[in-house]
């Protein structure tokens, strides 16, 4: 069990809705970005004297550019349907973590300066002036929202707190108030090419190491190419896939699938990051700038297809925004959607019988699947709505004999965010991350007790990092988190693979 200097919530298998406890998370503030990092993103380095006026101006500007902001601030009727849906409220009981109350932090100021009722009868409609206290609340609580959209499923009008959170962060950035974690990371993408600041030689070295590992394991030379011109497929994957556990096992799996499919593929050191933190800070310009790196890499390398690896919010940006931000992609093969998810590719291969699979390689596991929030509520896989639920499960069931789902109401469109998304995967927010994970932990406990679940598979780099860090607080083991393509990698039998006992033992070790 991990040690904490805050109280770790107890998990029972069922998440109860807590009574409201004001200000339990008012103390939690994530580190602020230094001036250099702000300026690198096109934001002011310091808060200007007239920050209030500038903030209102920024709000006015956003209201003209984003229908979501305008409609959502007007349409809320305070019915409370959303109040028990956010994992951060369920885990902390702080009422400002209820979606409607979180939106109200912005809405109250919107009403004051932009509506008739707020201008003349503020107390009646709950309108407030923008003050330093209000700004502090904005900073604290808009960095306690992972933009997971769970609230938008349950709101009668589909009000999406993520949109409010993104707009609020953009407004704050425009007056020089930004968070260190997101903004520094975006800076690294511009300077080096990925969130982790891994330069090309480090990437090349990692990939060489993977090639050796796979050869040692299987006797087959599977290639993990970097910056290879003329390859058919450009794989864009989260940089965590290059070195974190269990992410890197997923990367190994992608390579094996491409190898068996007989396609040529490559990674790019220029576009070595699938993740796009520009979305988290609600900055269209920064999000676009990051996306354009992928377009450039695709053109420079002369590829015909773009495929994304296992990353949650990256898949949202890729699936829903890439065409808008960096398209049109008329220079790619029109036979394939742009972009595709690696799971769409792998599932196609499985259906076409192109992969030789031995699910018994994963027999020591009872696996469940965590639907990552962005994938579940902001994307699709395949042709039909809901493919983002079916395809990962289909792939897992093809490589695993023992699969169970967590309880209804905690999966698919109602899935609980891991607690670390939306730019909150930083140590200074550990208390929030641990408490926010509570509903997912309750569900995992229920599945463990009812069905003997031993492992939880995920297809998001943030989820994998968050869970490996946080589940020990709840009495689970970090090795219980696996990548879906890690399961595929375990079960896949490569053409020409070594037969024999040693080989099977090694697979079992990898799986444990």
């Amino acid at each position: 069990m991990a040690k904490a200097n805050f109280e770790v919530p107890e998990i029972t298998g069922v998440t109860e809705v807590p009574p409201v406890q004001p200000d339990t998370m008012a103390h939690l503030e994530t580190f602020r970005a230094k001036p250099d990092f702000m300026e690198a993103l096109g934001f002011p380095g310091e808060m200007p004297e007239d920050w209030k006026e500038k903030a209102i101006e920024a709000m006015g500007d956003m209201l003209k550019k984003y229908r979501s902001l305008q409609v959502f601030l007007d349409a809320c009727v305070k019915c409370g349907a959303c109040t028990d849906k956010c994992h951060y409220f369920l885990g902390t009981a702080d009422p400002k973590n209820m979606p409607v109350a979180r939106q109200d932090l912005l809405r109250k100021v919107y009403r004051r300066y932009f509506t008739l009722a707020g201008k003349f009868f503020p107390k009646l409609v709950g309108a407030v002036d923008l003050t330093e206290e209000v700004l502090q609340d904005w900073y604290n609580y808009y960095h306690q929202c992972s933009q997971c959209r769970r609230c938008s499923v349950f709101c009668p009008y589909g009000i999406d707190t993520a949109e409010i959170s993104m707009a609020a962060r953009e407004i704050m950035d425009r007056i020089g108030v930004g968070d260190k974690y997101c903004n520094e990371i975006i800076g690294k993408v511009f300077r080096i090419g990925n969130n982790l600041g891994l330069p090309e030689p480090a990437l090349a070295d990692t990939l060489e190491g993977l090639e050796e590992d796979v050869y040692d394991d299987t006797g087959v030379k599977v290639r993990y190419p970097l910056d290879e011109k003329g390859a058919e497929i450009l794989l864009v994957t989260p940089s965590a896939d290059f070195f974190a556990e269990p992410h890197v096992d997923g990367l190994m799996g992608y390579g094996k699938v491409f190898h068996e499919a007989g396609v040529s593929w490559t990674l790019s050191s220029y576009a070595s990051e699938a993740a796009n933190f520009g979305m988290f800070i609600g900055s269209y310009e920064n999000m676009r700038k990051i996306s354009l790196r992928i377009r450039k890499a695709a053109i420079d390398l002369g590829v015909k297809r773009i495929i994304f690896g296992e990353c949650g919010h990256a898949w949202r940006v890729a699936y829903a925004f890439l065409n808008t931000l960096a398209g049109p992609f008329d220079f790619l093969d029109p036979k394939y959607p742009v972009p595709q998810h690696i799971l769409e590719f792998t599932w196609e291969q499985i259906q076409a019988g192109k992969l030789k699979l031995d699910p018994s390689a994963n027999d020591d596991m009872v696996v469940t699947f965590h639907d990552s929030c962005n994938v579940a509520r902001a994307t699709r896989m395949g042709d039909k709505p809901g493919g983002q639920f079916e395809i990962p499960r289909n792939v897992i069931k093809a490589v695993c004999n023992n699969y169970v789902d967590m309880p209804d109401g905690t999966i698919k469109e109602a899935t609980f965010c891991c607690g670390g998304g939306g730019g909150l995967l930083t140590d200074d927010l550990m208390e929030l991350r641990v408490k926010g994970a509570k509903p997912r932990m309750d569900a995992l406990k229920a599945a463990t007790e009812e069905h003997g679940v031993t492992h939880m598979a995920a297809i998001c780099a943030i989820c994998k990092s968050q869970f490996t860090k946080v589940i020990p607080y709840y009495g689970f083991d970090m090795d219980q988190i696996v990548s879906v393509h890690q399961l595929v990698s375990n079960a896949i039998i490569l053409t020409g693979q070594d037969e024999g006992g040693d080989e099977e033992e090694e697979s079992a070790e990898d799986a444990a």
Partner: protein, 245 residues
């Protein structure tokens, strides 16, 4: 012409102007603001027809609310369906001769007033009894419920208890439509009912009642999920592209 008749008529003309211009303005505003990114809450329909169906299910059955909270859904449904039937029944005052369907709705519309008021009282009670709802409730939320309850009660009392001269009332209503004022029956209950309705019309465009309009413009519900198939770029985003290339 009695002073009361002129006053109430003037109030309704004013209320109508404010209501219509206010709502039309909001519709124009919501239609004009771009939605630069495809942000439908998935799973989402992949065709326009699918979106129409999704929107229909939301507006007619409150689909998302049903997923969210069954008790709230029952109260909201009672109020809204009750209100719909009541409004349909009221058409009899504005159309001559009265169409058959409006004639048939009369008994349903009259008793629906009870469902409507019951629903409203339940919704109001939540704002006191549930701590999460209490936290986000402002004075205007209470006032709005009070207004609606008073309209419902005064109307129900007029229908079931203190009957008014409905023939004269219809003449008054038709007179409003044709700008040929006829005397308004002076029952206090009726006057209260009418004045409160006018107040509702006046505050409507400046209140959360705009949710009725807003839902049709909610990008998480009204967007087709086809970003890969069709490129979607807002005008201001296109300008950004042109400036930066």
């Amino acid at each position: 012409m009695s002073f009361l008749t002129v006053l109430v008529a003037a109030l309704f003309y004013l209320a109508t102007v404010i209501f219509v211009t206010g709502v039309v303005y909001r519709i124009w505003l919501y239609a004009r603001v771009p939605a630069p990114l495809r942000i439908a809450t998935t799973p989402a329909p992949v065709t326009k027809g699918g979106v129409v169906l999704r929107m229909f299910r939301e507006v007619a059955f409150f689909e998302s609310l049903f997923k969210s909270n069954k008790l709230l859904w029952i109260l909201a449904a009672l109020f809204h369906y009750g209100l719909a039937l009541v409004l349909l029944r009221h058409l009899r005052y504005f159309i001559e001769p009265v169409p058959l369907v409006v004639e048939l709705v009369q008994p349903f519309g009259k008793y629906a007033a009870f469902a409507m008021v019951f629903g409203l009282l339940g919704l109001w009670a939540r704002r006191f009894l549930i701590d999460r709802v209490r936290y986000v409730t402002a004075p205007s939320d209470h006032l709005m419920l009070a207004l609606l309850v008073l309209i419902g009660l005064s109307g129900a009392l007029t229908t079931f208890v203190a009957h008014t001269d409905v023939v004269a009332l219809k003449d008054f209503a038709l007179g409003l439509l044709t700008f040929d004022l006829k005397p308004l029956p002076g029952d206090p209950l009726l006057v209260i009912h009418l004045v409160l309705v006018a107040v509702l019309m006046i505050v409507f465009p400046y209140s959360k009642l705009l949710h009725g309009v807003g839902i049709f413009f909610s990008p998480t519900r009204n967007m087709v999920d086809n970003p890969r198939e069709q490129r979607h770029v807002a005008n201001w985003a296109r300008k950004l592209e042109e400036e930066n290339s």
